[in-house]
Every structure is written in C-alpha cells, then in structure tokens.
Amino acid sequence: MPFATVLLDGVSYGMVLFIISVGLTVTMGLMRVVNLAHGAFAMVGGYLAVILVRAGVPFLLAALLAAAAVGVLGAAAELAVYRPLYRKGELAQALMTFGLVFVVIAALTMIFGPEIKPLPVPGFLAGLVDVGLRPYPAYRLFLIALGLALAALLWWTIDGSLYGARLRAAVDNPRMARALGIDVSRLYTLTFAAGCALAGFGGAIGAQLLPLEPFYALRYLVLFLVVVGVGGMGNFRGSFVAALALGVLDTAGKYLLPEAAAYLFYGIVLVLLLWRPNGLLPSRAAT
Amino acid sequence: MSAPAAAALSVRGLSKSFGGLAIAQSIDLDLERGARVGLIGPNGAGKTTLVNLLTGTLAADAGSIRLQGEPIDRLPPEARVRRGLARTHQLNTLLPEASARDNVALAIAEREGIGWRLLRYARRWRACLEEADAQLESVGGAGVADRRVAELAYGEQRLLEIAIALALRPRVLLLDEPAAGVPKSEAHAIHAALERLPAEVAILMIEHDMDLVFRFVREIVVLVQGRILRRGTPAEIAADPEVRAVYLGRSAP
C-alpha cells in the first residue's frame, strides 16, 4: 500500500530532520543565537562518520564518535567566533555564520571533492523487515526508533530537569542567573556543543536520506530553519511535530506531484510561517 | 464628575486577561480636558498594562475607549497617536543613533503627515528641524539638540521622551514614570518640564515618586491588581485607610 510506505518514508525522513534540527531549536530558540551554519555541523558529522567507517569503525560507533567530535568543534567555534557576537545582534550573527557555511563548504570540497559521499549502513540494518503489509527497509525503521528515543531522552533531560531550568534562566536574564551561581558562559558553550553534536549525529545516521556532498549545508539549511520556525523556536515538542509533518509533506509531495513538489513545499511552509509566526504549537513556557 | 461628552479620554469596562490572570478588570476612567491625574499602585498592579491597553500596544479583551468622543478601540497604535493620544515610555525607546533634534523632528514630520514623502524634502524637513528646536527649548533641553541620544545623560533622555510626545500635539498624554531612575540632580528639570506642559492637554501620569505625584496632579487613581480601588484628590487618597493599607504601607503615619 503506497500510503503506508509514503507515511513511513515521510516519518523516517522527518526523524532525521528532527535529530538534526533539534540542536538548532536549542541554539536559536533557547540561546537566541542566529546560527545559519547548523547544517554545516551536521554535514561535518556525516563526513567524519564516513572517514571512520572507511577505517573500519562500526556504523553506530562511528556516528557517535563523529557526533562527539562535532560537539568539540562546536564548543571551539562557540568560544572563538560565536561568543563575540552575542551582543552584536541578529544581523551580525547571521552574516558571520553565513560566512562560516561558505568556509566549511569550500574546505570540504577541497578535501573531499564535490561528489556525494555514500555512507553505507551496516548489514543488520540493510535488509528488509516485514511490517505486516509489505517488507520495509530496516534502516528507516531504525531511524524512526532512534528519533523517538531521542525525543523521549530530550524531553526527560531538558523539559523537566534542572538543566533546562538553568538554561532558561541563563538566557532570559544572564546577570540574575550568574548571581544565582549559574556559570552562564560554560552553560552556553555546553549547550551549543550539545546542539552541534546532535546535528553531527543526525548528519551521520541520516546520510542515506540527506546525501553528503559539500553543498549539503546550504541545500538543507532552509529545511532545518523551517522545522525550527514552524515548530516554534526553543519548542522541542513543536520541532518534533514540525519535523514529522514537514517530512511527510515533502515525501508525499514528491510522490504525488513530483514536479510541483519542491516549490509547493516552500509555499506551504510560507503559509504556515505567516499563519503562526511563533510556531504551530504553543510554547510551554509562558514568556 | 463632568459629562462624558466633554471628556478627552473616556474608558468603560476595559478588561484584559493573560492565561488565567486578569491584569485589567473592568476599568472605568474619564480624563477631562486639562486633567492632571496620577495613576499609582503597587508593583504589578497593572499600571503600564493599562497604558498599553489605552495606546493599543496591547489588545483589550473587552471594553471601550473613546478619544474626544470618538471610539478608538479598533485602531492600531499609530492611528491612535495620529488622533491625539501620545505616551512616554518607562524604558526609553529613543532612536540611539539620531540626535535629540532628529528624534523630535521625526515626530513632527509624522504629525504633519509628510512622513511618507519620498522626493521633495528640503524646505519642509528644515521646518520640522526648526520646530524641533523650539520644542526642545520648551522642555528646557535646548542645549542637547545636536547630541546623539546615546551621549545624553539619563535625565536628558527622559526629557527628550517628553519633548517628543509633546511635539505630537496630543490631546491626551500618558506619562509612564517620567522621573523614574533619574538622579536627584537632574530631577528638577523633569519637574519643571512637567509643570510647563500645556494646560489643555489631559495628562495621566504613572509615578512612584510620591512627592512628584502630590505636587503635580489634581486627582489620583489607585490601581490594585488590575482594578481601580479609589479615585480622589491627593488629600483624600492620602487619608484613605484602605489605600494606606494596600499601598502606602500599614506602618505609614
């Protein structure tokens, strides 16, 4: 039944979008930093995973290691180039990160060349699984399971926890937060690094759906931004729903109206953003 | 009480809730021409909220607002300004890069309706600049006309807020804590400017500085938790036991 396939395809695609974009909703939503280079971090994660897998590291481990590495890169970037711009406003941040994207794209092309780098999934994920109606790729089911697990984990860590409360306090009133003993600088760096690590992880495990090539960072940037925008900035539930909705929308569009799909997608996104500029779901925190 | 038709600003049943919290509860208020009314109340009482509801920055849930008899509830903030309702802000919203004179001149240009003029400019803009100088002088700020707002002392910035509001030639002026945060040394300039405000303008002033309130206003409205508790002359309010309990402190003499 094509409907079920399209739905599952869309949901698994949406899960990848969620895993990558959730880091962006944290940085742009909670930290209020405009980070147009988020896609670049995801891309670098993917490329690092490719290197590791080629060196013989098992797929999942490679993805996790790549994520950790991207987290470290993210922390370094935060200290070096993001921090000086917190006070300078959105335009400055947008411009700087835009430049960063160009730098990363160029660097990766120079190192790896412009072709798509495939990241083969391990044997146990490469096969088909019978889901009752018809055999379905195990890899995509894996993505769905992973996305759900991650969503649950994040919900549990951020939404309900002290970390989440600290982060919110630090963003809303850094001076007050410091007075309460919260190390705001370290919190920012850690959070930013976590966001980048998630992106890197998503870039690695999602490489079959979002192919790795140097323009990945620009090509899918709008997609990630849109997930965050439609979901509501800083809103985890929102970005989860938005990622799934947009994933299904995009997949269904490509299946039903292959020629019009691309711009109809953006058209719908436009409508959604205009209708609900603050995101589809109401934010839990009453700002 | 004067007849509503003569009121510069007439508010009936103004209400607003956020979530489950009622921040304005069925507020009735009249400001006659030339009124000098002080709005006081404890922190969180909803004073600035009321001003925001009057200016249209915040949309009311219910109630009506009439400016000189004309309803303005459906108008966006900038339209209310053009009808004659001006305000100053508790936290400055001045244009930081522009000079004091330019800040005032822009207001005059909008008032004159030439804000949209694209091509012809020289003579009329110069007229705006000249009037801006006159406005600044009338509030005692002539010396700062050229200086960029970012370089002004805080007291001078507060004066500028008043000058800009005046330049709009309002019928009703809402002052949101005009002297707040101004050091004692600069406060007299603000006081002097307030005393020189045109007599026919109806003024509603939020203030915590009781000296200023008692000196400047002829009537006081006490707002507590979004509701008007009392309205009366300064003497009546000062003597009122309920007001004292809620606001001036139980230990007040």
Binding site: L91, A94, A262, L273 | L95, A98, R111
Partner: protein, 314 residues
C-alpha cells in the same frame, strides 16, 4: 568636500576611456554596485534582514530576458518592464512578510527565494531551466547604439542606469520617508509611538529596493544576453551581502567600494577553482563581521580618528 562626490563617477568614466579591454568586467562591477545599493536600502537603512535578495535580481533578469525574446528587444522598454514588475513583486512579498521581524522574517525571505528558485528550476518554458534563458537579442539602445562586442554601449548604459538610481536613492534617503526608515531600523517601538505606519513604510522601502535589484538583474540579462539559475541562488544573495558589508552599510559609497573590490578580486581569483574562492569569501565575511563592523569605508573614519588622536597628543 563636494568634489569628492565626483570621484567615483570620474573614475567610472576614466575606466571607459582608458581601460577599453576591461569594459565587460566594468559592467559587471556597475551591476553589482546597483544590486548592493538596493540591498543597502532594504537592509542597511530600513533594517530588513533579507537573505534572499537575489530573488529580485533573478526575477528582474528573467523578466527582462523574456521581454526581449517575446515582446521587443528594446533595452529601455525591457528595463522599465523588468523594474516595474520586480517592484510589484517586492511590494507583494513585502506586504506578506513584513509583519514579522528578526529571525522569522529572515526565514521567510529565505523561503521565498527558495520557492522562486525551485519554481524557476521547474518552469522550463519560462526560464529554460538548468540550461538558462538563451536567445536574448537586444535592439540598439535608443535606436542608435548597438550593443557591441567590446561592451562600450553596455558599460555606458549600465553607468547611466546606476547614476539614475543613485540619484533617486540619494533623494529618498534624505526625505522624511528615508529618515523614518532609519528610525524604524533603530527603534520600531519609537516609530509606532509617534504615529508612523511602520508596516506601510517598510513595504514601500522593500518594493523600491526590489525594483532597484530588478533593474540590476535586467541589466545583467541585457548586457550578457543570458540568464541562468544562479541569478536566483543563495550564492548570489550571499555575494551581494558580502559586497555590501565589505564596503560598509549606510555609507554613501559603501556599496561602490565593496562591490568593486569584490568583483575585481573575484575575477583575479577566477584562476583558482570556485571553491577556494568560496573559502576566501566566507572568511572575509567572518572577518569583517568580527573585526571591522563598518566595512572598508569605515577604515577612513578609523584613520581619521587615529590621526586626530595623535595630533591631540597622547
């Protein structure tokens, strides 16, 4: 001081007479200057953060190209058509999105530019798709001046259009309207409080900026007789952003400086592969944002201040 105003224009004319072999590069520079100038109006002055301004450049380019192919090859008619149509497009999209601010607005500009780019990719009948719009034949300018191979007509044509738009911009920025735009950029709350219909002003500014960018695109189509998908791309949006920031926003000749430096250096670096160029471009943008906020044009200010400081004695 007034004499300094003539300098860029004299320089432009000097290039025409003295650097005959480089006129096509010169025309590229002039077109980029016009494009950057349009961005300065929307972004520099009105504070509309747009990451998709190439949408208007490409729109104007395709409009002018199609006009030449399907209607008439007269350059001025095509220019007028493209400018007007792009302006209307700008007004329409502006009216739609300028209720929002900050990051949401940024995303919307990106979404619109992406939408347009995807549409252009699909609409082969209108844009030629991947192959681009070809077969543009231009009639002689004003009936007399043919677009010659060495680009003499193209250069002077572009220079005149740039000068005309520059004059318009100059007046607009000094008008009450232009000043209110600067006010809106600095504090929309303040402008609301003095009765400014902020949204209306922003839409008007955006439309004007779009028309100007459309003119630049039209010039590009007419002088190169080709329009490719890159005219709508994110790369071009990034390019014009760099050019403007490089030269300095809100400066009389910031766009001139930045666009000239950018295009000239890019051509010099054309020997290198395009990706090394992206590296330089990106690094340059980062460096300027981090270290040189006012762009190159502010170097003059910095120098003047340093000299004044030294004279005052330390």
């Amino acid at each position: 001081m007034k004499g300094l105003h003539l300098l860029p224009w004299l320089a432009a004319l000097a290039v025409y007479f003295a650097a005959g072999g480089y006129l096509s590069l010169g025309t590229q520079v002039l077109i980029m200057i016009l494009f950057a100038l349009s961005l300065d109006l929307a972004l520099g002055h009105a504070g509309i953060v747009t990451l998709g301004h190439a949408a208007f450049f490409g729109f104007g380019a395709y409009a002018a190209g199609n006009f030449a192919i399907h209607v008439h090859g007269d350059p001025l008619a095509g220019l007028a058509f493209a400018t007007a149509l792009t302006g209307l497009f700008g007004l329409a999209t502006g009216a739609l999105i300028l209720h929002t601010r900050g990051v949401t607005l940024m995303m919307l500009t990106l979404a619109i530019a992406s939408l347009l780019a995807e549409f252009a990719n699909q609409a082969h009948w209108l844009t030629g798709g991947d192959d681009g719009l070809q077969g543009i034949r231009m009639a002689p300018l004003l009936g007399a001046f043919r677009f010659d191979l060495w680009g003499h007509t193209a250069y002077l044509y572009s220079l005149t259009v740039l000068a005309a738009w520059f004059a318009v911009t100059w007046r607009v920025l000094r008008s009450p309207f232009g000043r209110s735009l600067d006010g809106i950029r600095q504090s929309p709350a303040r402008m609301h409080a003095i009765g400014t219909p902020v949204w209306r002003r922003l839409v008007a500014a955006y439309g004007l900026s779009a028309a100007m960018a459309g003119s630049a695109g039209a010039l590009s189509a007419q002088t190169t007789r080709f329009v490719g998908l890159s005219t709508l791309g994110v790369l071009l949006s990034g390019t014009v952003l760099v050019a403007l920031i490089l030269g300095g926003t809100r400066r009389l000749y910031g766009a001139f400086l930045g666009a000239t430096v950018y295009v000239v250096v890019q051509n010099v670096a054309a020997e290198l592969d395009p990706f090394r160029w992206m590296l330089v471009l990106g690094a340059l943008l980062m460096a300027i944002v981090l270290f040189l906020e006012g762009g190159l044009a502010s170097l003059g200010d910095l120098a003047a201040r340093a000299l004044a400081g030294r004279r005052a004695g330390k």
